[in-house]
Amino acid sequence: MFKKIIEKSIVILAFLVIWETASQLEWVNPMFIPPFSKVVTTIWELFSKGQLISHISISLYRALSGFFAAIIIAVPLGFLLGGWFRKIEIVLEPVLDLFSQFNPFVLFHIILLFLGLSEATKITIITWTCIWPIMFSTIGGMKSIHPIIFKAGRCFGLNRLNIFLKIILPATAPSIFTGIRLSLGYSMFMLIAAEMMGCESGLGWLILNSQENYQIHKVFAVSVVIAIIGVLLDSVMQWIERRVIRAENIEVLNAEA
Protein backbone atom coordinates (compact mmCIF):
# COMPACT_ATOMS: atom_id res chain seq x y z
CA MET A 1 0.00 0.00 0.00
CA PHE A 2 2.85 2.36 0.75
CA LYS A 3 4.21 1.74 -2.69
CA LYS A 4 1.00 3.07 -4.17
CA ILE A 5 1.15 6.24 -2.14
CA ILE A 6 4.78 6.76 -3.05
CA GLU A 7 4.04 6.17 -6.70
CA LYS A 8 1.29 8.69 -6.70
CA SER A 9 3.14 11.45 -4.99
CA ILE A 10 6.78 11.12 -5.92
CA VAL A 11 6.68 13.35 -8.95
CA ILE A 12 4.70 15.99 -7.12
CA LEU A 13 7.18 15.95 -4.25
CA ALA A 14 10.09 16.16 -6.66
CA PHE A 15 8.42 19.10 -8.33
CA LEU A 16 7.97 20.85 -4.97
CA VAL A 17 11.62 20.29 -4.12
CA ILE A 18 12.73 21.70 -7.46
CA TRP A 19 10.41 24.66 -7.00
CA GLU A 20 11.82 25.40 -3.58
CA THR A 21 15.45 25.19 -4.59
CA ALA A 22 15.02 27.07 -7.84
CA SER A 23 13.40 29.93 -6.05
CA GLN A 24 15.71 30.02 -3.05
CA LEU A 25 18.84 29.83 -5.18
CA GLU A 26 17.43 32.53 -7.43
CA TRP A 27 17.54 30.47 -10.59
CA VAL A 28 14.18 32.10 -11.23
CA ASN A 29 13.35 35.53 -9.97
CA PRO A 30 11.89 35.05 -6.49
CA MET A 31 9.73 38.10 -7.05
CA PHE A 32 7.94 36.21 -9.78
CA ILE A 33 7.98 32.76 -8.31
CA PRO A 34 8.22 32.73 -4.53
CA PRO A 35 9.58 29.60 -2.89
CA PHE A 36 7.08 27.00 -1.82
CA SER A 37 7.84 27.50 1.86
CA LYS A 38 6.92 31.15 1.57
CA VAL A 39 3.67 30.23 -0.15
CA VAL A 40 2.82 27.89 2.72
CA THR A 41 3.59 30.51 5.33
CA THR A 42 1.47 33.00 3.42
CA ILE A 43 -1.44 30.58 3.45
CA TRP A 44 -1.02 30.19 7.19
CA GLU A 45 -0.93 33.97 7.68
CA LEU A 46 -4.05 34.55 5.64
CA PHE A 47 -5.72 31.73 7.49
CA SER A 48 -4.86 32.86 11.00
CA LYS A 49 -5.66 36.50 10.44
CA GLY A 50 -9.16 35.39 9.56
CA GLN A 51 -9.52 36.90 6.09
CA LEU A 52 -9.12 33.63 4.31
CA ILE A 53 -12.01 31.89 5.99
CA SER A 54 -14.51 34.61 5.15
CA HIS A 55 -13.37 34.72 1.53
CA ILE A 56 -13.57 30.96 1.24
CA SER A 57 -17.05 30.85 2.71
CA ILE A 58 -18.34 33.56 0.38
CA SER A 59 -16.82 31.86 -2.64
CA LEU A 60 -18.16 28.47 -1.64
CA TYR A 61 -21.58 29.95 -1.01
CA ARG A 62 -21.68 31.38 -4.53
CA ALA A 63 -20.32 28.30 -6.23
CA LEU A 64 -22.54 25.85 -4.39
CA SER A 65 -25.69 27.95 -4.80
CA GLY A 66 -25.09 28.10 -8.53
CA PHE A 67 -24.31 24.40 -8.57
CA PHE A 68 -27.45 23.34 -6.70
CA ALA A 69 -29.63 25.72 -8.67
CA ALA A 70 -28.26 24.17 -11.84
CA ILE A 71 -29.08 20.67 -10.58
CA ILE A 72 -32.60 21.66 -9.64
CA ILE A 73 -33.22 23.18 -13.06
CA ALA A 74 -31.34 20.83 -15.32
CA VAL A 75 -32.26 17.39 -14.00
CA PRO A 76 -36.06 17.71 -14.35
CA LEU A 77 -35.59 19.47 -17.68
CA GLY A 78 -33.36 16.63 -18.80
CA PHE A 79 -35.94 14.04 -17.80
CA LEU A 80 -38.66 15.93 -19.66
CA LEU A 81 -36.64 16.34 -22.80
CA GLY A 82 -35.11 12.94 -22.69
CA GLY A 83 -37.92 10.68 -23.40
CA TRP A 84 -41.46 11.60 -23.89
CA PHE A 85 -41.92 13.90 -26.82
CA ARG A 86 -40.15 13.10 -30.04
CA LYS A 87 -41.47 16.09 -31.96
CA ILE A 88 -40.40 18.57 -29.32
CA GLU A 89 -36.96 17.00 -29.35
CA ILE A 90 -36.54 17.61 -33.07
CA VAL A 91 -37.43 21.24 -32.67
CA LEU A 92 -35.49 21.90 -29.50
CA GLU A 93 -32.24 20.24 -30.44
CA PRO A 94 -30.80 23.06 -32.59
CA VAL A 95 -31.96 25.61 -30.04
CA LEU A 96 -30.25 23.78 -27.19
CA ASP A 97 -27.14 23.35 -29.31
CA LEU A 98 -27.11 27.09 -29.90
CA PHE A 99 -27.78 28.07 -26.31
CA SER A 100 -25.14 25.78 -24.94
CA GLN A 101 -22.60 27.61 -27.07
CA PHE A 102 -23.31 30.92 -25.38
CA ASN A 103 -20.04 31.80 -23.76
CA PRO A 104 -20.56 32.62 -20.07
CA PHE A 105 -18.35 35.67 -20.44
CA VAL A 106 -20.61 36.99 -23.14
CA LEU A 107 -23.59 36.42 -20.93
CA PHE A 108 -21.83 38.00 -18.01
CA HIS A 109 -21.99 41.47 -19.53
CA ILE A 110 -25.62 41.02 -20.47
CA ILE A 111 -26.61 39.82 -17.03
CA LEU A 112 -24.58 42.67 -15.58
CA LEU A 113 -26.99 45.04 -17.31
CA PHE A 114 -29.98 43.43 -15.69
CA LEU A 115 -28.82 42.51 -12.26
CA GLY A 116 -25.96 44.87 -11.64
CA LEU A 117 -22.99 43.99 -9.51
CA SER A 118 -24.76 41.80 -7.01
CA GLU A 119 -24.46 38.27 -5.77
CA ALA A 120 -27.25 37.27 -8.14
CA THR A 121 -25.13 38.01 -11.21
CA LYS A 122 -22.36 35.68 -10.19
CA ILE A 123 -24.71 32.93 -9.07
CA THR A 124 -26.62 33.20 -12.34
CA ILE A 125 -23.47 32.88 -14.41
CA ILE A 126 -22.35 29.82 -12.45
CA THR A 127 -25.82 28.30 -12.79
CA TRP A 128 -25.81 28.87 -16.54
CA THR A 129 -22.40 27.28 -16.96
CA CYS A 130 -23.37 24.26 -14.88
CA ILE A 131 -26.76 23.61 -16.45
CA TRP A 132 -25.44 22.32 -19.76
CA PRO A 133 -23.28 19.36 -18.68
CA ILE A 134 -25.98 18.14 -16.30
CA MET A 135 -28.76 18.48 -18.85
CA PHE A 136 -26.89 16.78 -21.62
CA SER A 137 -25.75 13.91 -19.46
CA THR A 138 -29.28 13.42 -18.09
CA ILE A 139 -30.63 13.28 -21.62
CA GLY A 140 -27.85 10.90 -22.61
CA GLY A 141 -28.66 8.70 -19.65
CA MET A 142 -32.33 8.61 -20.53
CA LYS A 143 -31.53 7.72 -24.09
CA SER A 144 -29.35 4.83 -23.10
CA ILE A 145 -32.08 2.96 -21.28
CA HIS A 146 -33.01 -0.07 -23.29
CA PRO A 147 -36.65 0.13 -24.39
CA ILE A 148 -37.16 -3.51 -23.37
CA ILE A 149 -36.94 -2.47 -19.74
CA PHE A 150 -39.83 -0.06 -20.25
CA LYS A 151 -41.86 -2.79 -21.87
CA ALA A 152 -41.11 -5.13 -19.00
CA GLY A 153 -42.24 -2.45 -16.59
CA ARG A 154 -45.49 -2.01 -18.44
CA CYS A 155 -45.97 -5.79 -18.36
CA PHE A 156 -45.78 -5.61 -14.62
CA GLY A 157 -48.48 -2.97 -14.63
CA LEU A 158 -46.40 -0.12 -13.23
CA ASN A 159 -48.05 3.26 -13.40
CA ARG A 160 -46.19 6.39 -14.52
CA LEU A 161 -44.83 7.32 -11.12
CA ASN A 162 -43.48 3.87 -10.44
CA ILE A 163 -41.89 3.65 -13.86
CA PHE A 164 -40.09 6.82 -13.04
CA LEU A 165 -38.95 5.80 -9.58
CA LYS A 166 -38.07 2.20 -10.24
CA ILE A 167 -36.82 2.21 -13.78
CA ILE A 168 -35.68 5.61 -14.91
CA LEU A 169 -34.01 6.93 -11.78
CA PRO A 170 -31.73 3.96 -11.09
CA ALA A 171 -30.82 3.59 -14.76
CA THR A 172 -29.91 7.21 -15.33
CA ALA A 173 -28.27 7.83 -11.97
CA PRO A 174 -24.70 7.04 -13.12
CA SER A 175 -24.90 9.40 -16.09
CA ILE A 176 -26.46 12.13 -14.00
CA PHE A 177 -23.70 11.79 -11.47
CA THR A 178 -21.05 12.04 -14.13
CA GLY A 179 -22.64 15.25 -15.30
CA ILE A 180 -22.87 16.53 -11.75
CA ARG A 181 -19.19 15.86 -11.10
CA LEU A 182 -18.24 17.63 -14.30
CA SER A 183 -20.33 20.63 -13.48
CA LEU A 184 -18.88 20.88 -9.99
CA GLY A 185 -15.54 21.42 -11.66
CA TYR A 186 -17.07 24.00 -13.98
CA SER A 187 -18.67 25.83 -11.09
CA MET A 188 -15.32 26.33 -9.36
CA PHE A 189 -13.84 27.37 -12.68
CA MET A 190 -16.43 30.02 -13.44
CA LEU A 191 -16.52 31.14 -9.83
CA ILE A 192 -13.00 32.48 -10.00
CA ALA A 193 -13.66 34.11 -13.34
CA ALA A 194 -16.86 35.74 -12.16
CA GLU A 195 -15.22 36.99 -9.01
CA MET A 196 -12.36 38.48 -10.94
CA MET A 197 -14.73 40.65 -12.91
CA GLY A 198 -16.34 43.20 -10.69
CA CYS A 199 -16.49 41.95 -7.14
CA GLU A 200 -15.38 42.89 -3.69
CA SER A 201 -14.92 39.67 -1.85
CA GLY A 202 -14.13 36.07 -2.46
CA LEU A 203 -11.11 34.16 -3.62
CA GLY A 204 -11.06 35.48 -7.17
CA TRP A 205 -11.11 39.05 -5.96
CA LEU A 206 -8.33 38.18 -3.53
CA ILE A 207 -6.15 37.02 -6.42
CA LEU A 208 -6.86 40.14 -8.43
CA ASN A 209 -6.21 42.36 -5.45
CA SER A 210 -2.95 40.67 -4.63
CA GLN A 211 -1.84 40.99 -8.22
CA GLU A 212 -2.58 44.67 -8.27
CA ASN A 213 -0.56 45.17 -5.13
CA TYR A 214 2.27 43.06 -6.53
CA GLN A 215 2.00 40.57 -3.68
CA ILE A 216 2.78 37.59 -5.82
CA HIS A 217 3.17 35.22 -2.92
CA LYS A 218 -0.48 35.85 -2.08
CA VAL A 219 -1.46 35.05 -5.65
CA PHE A 220 0.29 31.71 -5.43
CA ALA A 221 -1.10 31.04 -1.97
CA VAL A 222 -4.69 31.63 -3.06
CA SER A 223 -4.15 29.51 -6.19
CA VAL A 224 -2.98 26.62 -4.03
CA VAL A 225 -5.98 27.06 -1.74
CA ILE A 226 -8.34 27.04 -4.72
CA ALA A 227 -6.73 23.88 -6.10
CA ILE A 228 -7.05 22.19 -2.71
CA ILE A 229 -10.70 23.16 -2.44
CA GLY A 230 -11.32 21.80 -5.92
CA VAL A 231 -9.69 18.48 -5.10
CA LEU A 232 -11.63 18.26 -1.81
CA LEU A 233 -14.98 18.92 -3.48
CA ASP A 234 -14.22 16.33 -6.12
CA SER A 235 -13.34 13.77 -3.44
CA VAL A 236 -16.62 14.46 -1.68
CA MET A 237 -18.49 13.87 -4.93
CA GLN A 238 -16.58 10.64 -5.50
CA TRP A 239 -17.46 9.47 -1.99
CA ILE A 240 -21.13 10.24 -2.54
CA GLU A 241 -21.02 8.47 -5.84
CA ARG A 242 -19.54 5.40 -4.23
CA ARG A 243 -22.17 5.25 -1.53
CA VAL A 244 -25.27 6.18 -3.48
CA ILE A 245 -24.62 4.52 -6.79
CA ARG A 246 -23.44 1.01 -7.27
CA ALA A 247 -19.77 1.35 -7.90
CA GLU A 248 -19.08 -1.29 -10.51
CA ASN A 249 -17.60 1.02 -13.06
CA ILE A 250 -15.91 3.54 -10.79
CA GLU A 251 -12.43 2.42 -11.84
CA VAL A 252 -13.21 2.91 -15.50
CA LEU A 253 -14.67 6.34 -14.90
CA ASN A 254 -11.74 7.52 -12.84
CA ALA A 255 -9.13 6.25 -15.21
CA GLU A 256 -10.53 8.47 -17.88
CA ALA A 257 -11.47 11.49 -15.81
Binding site: V91, I110, I139, I207
Partner: protein, 319 residues
Protein backbone atom coordinates in the same frame (compact mmCIF):
# COMPACT_ATOMS: atom_id res chain seq x y z
CA UNK B 1 -25.04 8.23 -55.01
CA UNK B 2 -28.83 8.41 -55.09
CA UNK B 3 -30.30 11.86 -55.57
CA UNK B 4 -32.39 12.76 -52.56
CA UNK B 5 -35.18 15.30 -52.76
CA UNK B 6 -34.48 18.11 -50.37
CA UNK B 7 -36.82 17.49 -47.46
CA UNK B 8 -38.17 21.01 -46.88
CA UNK B 9 -40.75 20.06 -44.35
CA UNK B 10 -38.30 18.28 -42.11
CA UNK B 11 -35.80 21.09 -42.09
CA UNK B 12 -38.45 23.76 -41.60
CA UNK B 13 -39.81 21.89 -38.63
CA UNK B 14 -36.38 21.26 -37.23
CA UNK B 15 -35.26 24.85 -37.29
CA UNK B 16 -38.59 26.30 -36.24
CA UNK B 17 -37.26 26.58 -32.71
CA UNK B 18 -34.46 28.84 -33.84
CA UNK B 19 -36.81 30.87 -36.01
CA UNK B 20 -39.10 31.33 -33.03
CA UNK B 21 -36.17 32.50 -30.96
CA UNK B 22 -35.11 35.04 -33.61
CA UNK B 23 -38.66 36.31 -34.03
CA UNK B 24 -39.06 36.72 -30.29
CA UNK B 25 -35.76 38.57 -30.19
CA UNK B 26 -37.04 41.00 -32.80
CA UNK B 27 -40.55 41.49 -31.50
CA UNK B 28 -40.32 41.52 -27.73
CA UNK B 29 -37.92 44.46 -27.36
CA UNK B 30 -39.92 46.49 -29.87
CA UNK B 31 -43.09 45.97 -27.90
CA UNK B 32 -41.12 46.88 -24.79
CA UNK B 33 -42.02 43.60 -23.16
CA UNK B 34 -38.28 43.29 -22.64
CA UNK B 35 -36.70 46.59 -21.85
CA UNK B 36 -35.35 48.02 -25.08
CA UNK B 37 -32.48 49.70 -23.31
CA UNK B 38 -31.15 46.39 -22.11
CA UNK B 39 -32.03 44.13 -24.98
CA UNK B 40 -31.94 45.77 -28.39
CA UNK B 41 -34.00 44.09 -31.04
CA UNK B 42 -32.44 41.85 -33.65
CA UNK B 43 -32.49 44.58 -36.29
CA UNK B 44 -30.72 47.05 -34.04
CA UNK B 45 -28.06 44.49 -33.27
CA UNK B 46 -27.61 43.75 -36.95
CA UNK B 47 -27.25 47.44 -37.74
CA UNK B 48 -24.59 47.79 -35.07
CA UNK B 49 -22.88 44.73 -36.50
CA UNK B 50 -22.86 46.26 -39.97
CA UNK B 51 -21.39 49.48 -38.65
CA UNK B 52 -18.57 47.58 -37.02
CA UNK B 53 -17.99 45.60 -40.17
CA UNK B 54 -17.59 48.71 -42.27
CA UNK B 55 -13.99 49.71 -42.63
CA UNK B 56 -12.81 46.22 -41.93
CA UNK B 57 -12.83 46.61 -38.17
CA UNK B 58 -14.85 43.47 -37.57
CA UNK B 59 -12.58 41.46 -39.83
CA UNK B 60 -9.55 42.64 -37.85
CA UNK B 61 -11.08 41.65 -34.55
CA UNK B 62 -12.15 38.24 -35.77
CA UNK B 63 -8.84 37.47 -37.43
CA UNK B 64 -6.84 38.58 -34.40
CA UNK B 65 -8.88 36.38 -32.09
CA UNK B 66 -8.69 33.37 -34.37
CA UNK B 67 -4.97 33.87 -34.88
CA UNK B 68 -4.28 33.93 -31.15
CA UNK B 69 -6.39 30.84 -30.53
CA UNK B 70 -4.77 28.99 -33.43
CA UNK B 71 -1.26 29.92 -32.34
CA UNK B 72 -1.92 28.70 -28.81
CA UNK B 73 -3.46 25.51 -30.14
CA UNK B 74 -0.51 24.79 -32.42
CA UNK B 75 2.00 25.35 -29.62
CA UNK B 76 0.04 23.11 -27.29
CA UNK B 77 -0.27 20.35 -29.89
CA UNK B 78 3.39 20.60 -30.79
CA UNK B 79 4.30 20.03 -27.16
CA UNK B 80 1.73 17.56 -25.94
CA UNK B 81 1.16 15.25 -28.92
CA UNK B 82 4.80 14.14 -29.20
CA UNK B 83 5.09 14.09 -25.43
CA UNK B 84 1.97 11.97 -25.11
CA UNK B 85 3.01 9.52 -27.80
CA UNK B 86 6.55 9.10 -26.48
CA UNK B 87 5.49 8.80 -22.85
CA UNK B 88 2.72 6.31 -23.39
CA UNK B 89 4.46 4.13 -25.89
CA UNK B 90 8.07 4.05 -24.78
CA UNK B 91 7.94 4.92 -21.10
CA UNK B 92 4.59 3.73 -19.74
CA UNK B 93 5.96 3.40 -16.22
CA UNK B 94 7.07 7.00 -16.21
CA UNK B 95 3.66 7.93 -17.50
CA UNK B 96 2.04 6.28 -14.51
CA UNK B 97 4.36 8.19 -12.22
CA UNK B 98 3.74 11.51 -13.90
CA UNK B 99 -0.01 11.14 -14.21
CA UNK B 100 -0.99 12.47 -10.77
CA UNK B 101 1.31 15.41 -11.32
CA UNK B 102 -0.24 16.24 -14.67
CA UNK B 103 -3.72 15.92 -13.24
CA UNK B 104 -2.80 18.28 -10.45
CA UNK B 105 -1.48 20.83 -12.90
CA UNK B 106 -4.57 20.48 -15.06
CA UNK B 107 -6.77 21.10 -12.04
CA UNK B 108 -5.19 24.44 -11.24
CA UNK B 109 -7.63 27.10 -12.28
CA UNK B 110 -6.22 28.93 -15.31
CA UNK B 111 -7.80 32.15 -14.14
CA UNK B 112 -5.70 32.08 -11.03
CA UNK B 113 -2.66 31.61 -13.24
CA UNK B 114 -3.50 34.56 -15.40
CA UNK B 115 -1.78 37.12 -13.18
CA UNK B 116 1.33 34.93 -13.20
CA UNK B 117 1.36 34.74 -16.97
CA UNK B 118 0.82 38.46 -17.31
CA UNK B 119 3.74 39.02 -14.98
CA UNK B 120 6.01 36.84 -17.05
CA UNK B 121 4.98 37.94 -20.50
CA UNK B 122 3.62 41.41 -19.98
CA UNK B 123 0.34 42.62 -21.39
CA UNK B 124 0.89 41.75 -24.99
CA UNK B 125 0.27 39.01 -27.46
CA UNK B 126 2.62 36.63 -25.70
CA UNK B 127 0.65 36.47 -22.46
CA UNK B 128 -2.60 35.60 -24.20
CA UNK B 129 -1.04 32.97 -26.40
CA UNK B 130 0.73 31.53 -23.36
CA UNK B 131 -2.52 31.22 -21.41
CA UNK B 132 -4.25 29.59 -24.36
CA UNK B 133 -1.33 27.19 -24.76
CA UNK B 134 -1.43 26.21 -21.09
CA UNK B 135 -5.16 25.61 -21.17
CA UNK B 136 -4.94 23.51 -24.33
CA UNK B 137 -1.95 21.44 -23.20
CA UNK B 138 -3.81 19.25 -20.75
CA UNK B 139 -6.82 17.96 -22.72
CA UNK B 140 -4.61 17.16 -25.71
CA UNK B 141 -2.06 15.39 -23.52
CA UNK B 142 -4.63 13.27 -21.72
CA UNK B 143 -6.50 12.27 -24.83
CA UNK B 144 -3.30 11.52 -26.71
CA UNK B 145 -2.07 9.19 -24.00
CA UNK B 146 -5.46 7.49 -23.83
CA UNK B 147 -5.52 7.15 -27.61
CA UNK B 148 -2.06 5.67 -27.83
CA UNK B 149 -2.64 3.33 -24.90
CA UNK B 150 -5.76 1.89 -26.48
CA UNK B 151 -4.13 0.99 -29.76
CA UNK B 152 -4.89 -2.66 -30.30
CA UNK B 153 -1.67 -4.57 -29.48
CA UNK B 154 -2.47 -7.11 -32.16
CA UNK B 155 -2.03 -4.43 -34.78
CA UNK B 156 1.41 -3.60 -33.44
CA UNK B 157 2.40 -7.24 -33.27
CA UNK B 158 1.26 -7.80 -36.84
CA UNK B 159 3.36 -4.89 -37.99
CA UNK B 160 6.35 -6.20 -36.06
CA UNK B 161 5.97 -9.61 -37.61
CA UNK B 162 6.24 -8.06 -41.06
CA UNK B 163 9.59 -6.68 -40.02
CA UNK B 164 8.57 -3.04 -39.97
CA UNK B 165 10.94 -0.51 -38.52
CA UNK B 166 10.05 1.51 -35.47
CA UNK B 167 9.41 4.64 -37.49
CA UNK B 168 7.11 2.74 -39.80
CA UNK B 169 5.16 1.34 -36.91
CA UNK B 170 4.75 4.83 -35.53
CA UNK B 171 3.66 6.30 -38.79
CA UNK B 172 1.48 3.58 -40.13
CA UNK B 173 0.03 1.84 -37.11
CA UNK B 174 0.08 3.96 -34.01
CA UNK B 175 -0.57 7.36 -35.46
CA UNK B 176 -3.69 6.44 -37.45
CA UNK B 177 -5.05 4.28 -34.64
CA UNK B 178 -4.70 6.96 -32.00
CA UNK B 179 -5.85 9.74 -34.30
CA UNK B 180 -9.39 9.51 -33.00
CA UNK B 181 -8.28 10.20 -29.46
CA UNK B 182 -5.97 12.99 -30.52
CA UNK B 183 -8.72 14.61 -32.53
CA UNK B 184 -11.11 14.38 -29.59
CA UNK B 185 -8.51 16.12 -27.44
CA UNK B 186 -8.02 18.81 -30.06
CA UNK B 187 -11.76 19.38 -30.23
CA UNK B 188 -12.00 19.93 -26.51
CA UNK B 189 -8.89 22.08 -26.64
CA UNK B 190 -10.41 24.29 -29.34
CA UNK B 191 -13.48 24.91 -27.21
CA UNK B 192 -11.41 25.74 -24.16
CA UNK B 193 -8.99 27.90 -26.09
CA UNK B 194 -11.73 30.07 -27.49
CA UNK B 195 -13.29 30.31 -24.06
CA UNK B 196 -10.09 31.37 -22.32
CA UNK B 197 -9.16 33.68 -25.15
CA UNK B 198 -12.27 35.77 -24.74
CA UNK B 199 -11.59 35.98 -21.04
CA UNK B 200 -7.94 36.91 -21.54
CA UNK B 201 -8.83 39.54 -24.11
CA UNK B 202 -11.29 41.14 -21.78
CA UNK B 203 -8.55 41.80 -19.31
CA UNK B 204 -6.01 43.62 -21.33
CA UNK B 205 -6.23 43.96 -25.05
CA UNK B 206 -7.24 46.54 -27.58
CA UNK B 207 -8.11 44.27 -30.47
CA UNK B 208 -9.93 41.02 -30.69
CA UNK B 209 -13.50 40.02 -30.01
CA UNK B 210 -13.22 39.90 -26.24
CA UNK B 211 -11.74 43.38 -26.20
CA UNK B 212 -14.54 44.60 -28.47
CA UNK B 213 -17.11 43.15 -26.11
CA UNK B 214 -15.48 44.59 -23.01
CA UNK B 215 -14.97 47.97 -24.63
CA UNK B 216 -18.58 48.26 -25.72
CA UNK B 217 -19.77 47.20 -22.30
CA UNK B 218 -17.60 49.78 -20.58
CA UNK B 219 -18.83 52.54 -22.90
CA UNK B 220 -22.41 51.33 -22.50
CA UNK B 221 -22.88 50.95 -26.23
CA UNK B 222 -25.43 48.22 -25.87
CA UNK B 223 -26.25 47.31 -29.50
CA UNK B 224 -22.53 47.15 -30.24
CA UNK B 225 -22.06 44.87 -27.26
CA UNK B 226 -24.79 42.55 -28.46
CA UNK B 227 -23.29 42.59 -31.95
CA UNK B 228 -19.94 41.52 -30.53
CA UNK B 229 -21.63 38.82 -28.43
CA UNK B 230 -23.53 37.49 -31.42
CA UNK B 231 -20.30 37.36 -33.41
CA UNK B 232 -18.55 35.42 -30.67
CA UNK B 233 -21.40 32.93 -30.36
CA UNK B 234 -21.72 32.47 -34.12
CA UNK B 235 -17.99 31.98 -34.46
CA UNK B 236 -18.09 29.32 -31.76
CA UNK B 237 -20.96 27.53 -33.44
CA UNK B 238 -19.20 27.69 -36.80
CA UNK B 239 -15.97 26.29 -35.36
CA UNK B 240 -17.88 23.49 -33.70
CA UNK B 241 -19.68 22.56 -36.89
CA UNK B 242 -16.45 22.62 -38.88
CA UNK B 243 -14.76 20.37 -36.38
CA UNK B 244 -17.67 17.94 -36.36
CA UNK B 245 -17.61 17.89 -40.16
CA UNK B 246 -13.88 17.20 -40.16
CA UNK B 247 -14.35 14.47 -37.62
CA UNK B 248 -17.07 12.83 -39.68
CA UNK B 249 -14.92 12.82 -42.76
CA UNK B 250 -11.74 11.72 -41.07
CA UNK B 251 -13.34 8.89 -39.16
CA UNK B 252 -15.92 7.95 -41.67
CA UNK B 253 -16.45 4.51 -40.22
CA UNK B 254 -17.88 5.75 -36.94
CA UNK B 255 -21.57 6.38 -36.40
CA UNK B 256 -22.63 9.81 -35.28
CA UNK B 257 -25.05 10.38 -32.46
CA UNK B 258 -26.72 13.66 -31.70
CA UNK B 259 -27.41 14.72 -28.15
CA UNK B 260 -30.68 12.86 -28.22
CA UNK B 261 -29.03 9.62 -29.18
CA UNK B 262 -30.55 9.14 -32.59
CA UNK B 263 -28.22 8.08 -35.36
CA UNK B 264 -27.48 11.06 -37.53
CA UNK B 265 -26.02 9.51 -40.62
CA UNK B 266 -28.49 10.01 -43.40
CA UNK B 267 -26.12 9.88 -46.31
CA UNK B 268 -22.78 8.43 -47.24
CA UNK B 269 -19.73 10.31 -46.18
CA UNK B 270 -16.77 10.81 -48.43
CA UNK B 271 -13.57 9.73 -46.72
CA UNK B 272 -10.54 11.93 -46.48
CA UNK B 273 -7.85 11.92 -49.05
CA UNK B 274 -4.37 13.35 -49.23
CA UNK B 275 -5.68 16.46 -50.91
CA UNK B 276 -7.98 17.23 -48.03
CA UNK B 277 -5.06 17.29 -45.60
CA UNK B 278 -3.19 19.65 -47.88
CA UNK B 279 -6.23 21.89 -48.09
CA UNK B 280 -6.46 22.01 -44.33
CA UNK B 281 -2.79 22.87 -44.00
CA UNK B 282 -3.13 25.65 -46.55
CA UNK B 283 -6.19 27.10 -44.81
CA UNK B 284 -4.42 27.10 -41.45
CA UNK B 285 -1.35 28.76 -42.94
CA UNK B 286 -3.56 31.40 -44.57
CA UNK B 287 -5.26 32.11 -41.27
CA UNK B 288 -1.91 32.51 -39.55
CA UNK B 289 -0.59 34.78 -42.28
CA UNK B 290 -3.62 37.03 -42.48
CA UNK B 291 -3.88 37.04 -38.71
CA UNK B 292 -0.36 38.32 -38.23
CA UNK B 293 -1.01 41.13 -40.70
CA UNK B 294 -4.14 42.07 -38.80
CA UNK B 295 -2.34 41.98 -35.49
CA UNK B 296 0.25 44.38 -36.81
CA UNK B 297 -2.45 46.59 -38.24
CA UNK B 298 -4.23 46.65 -34.90
CA UNK B 299 -1.05 47.53 -33.05
CA UNK B 300 -0.36 50.32 -35.54
CA UNK B 301 -3.85 51.71 -35.18
CA UNK B 302 -3.58 51.68 -31.44
CA UNK B 303 -0.69 54.08 -31.66
CA UNK B 304 -2.18 56.29 -34.32
CA UNK B 305 -5.95 56.44 -33.87
CA UNK B 306 -7.80 57.63 -36.89
CA UNK B 307 -10.02 60.65 -36.33
CA UNK B 308 -12.49 59.34 -38.83
CA UNK B 309 -12.86 56.33 -36.57
CA UNK B 310 -13.77 58.51 -33.60
CA UNK B 311 -16.52 60.28 -35.49
CA UNK B 312 -17.90 56.93 -36.49
CA UNK B 313 -18.27 55.90 -32.86
CA UNK B 314 -20.09 59.11 -32.00
CA UNK B 315 -22.62 58.49 -34.71
CA UNK B 316 -23.61 55.17 -33.23
CA UNK B 317 -23.83 56.69 -29.79
CA UNK B 318 -26.27 59.34 -30.95
CA UNK B 319 -28.68 56.60 -31.94
Amino acid sequence: MPIRKFDYKYYAFRFSGIFAFLILWEVLPRLNVLDNQFIPSLSQTLMALVSIAEGGELFTHIMVSIWRALAGLIFASAISVPLGVVLSRYYPNSLNLFNPFFRLLAQVNPFSLMPVFILFFGIGEDAKIAIVTWVCLWPILFHTTTGVKTVDPILVKTALSTGASEVSILRKVIFPASLHGIFEGIRIAVEMSFFMLIAAEMIGATAGLGALLHNSAMNTQIPRMYAASATIVLLGVLLNKILIYLQKRMFFWKEEQDIFGEPQQKEEVKPFTQESYIIIAVVLAAILFVGILQVQKAAYEENNPRNKHKQHTNMIHAD
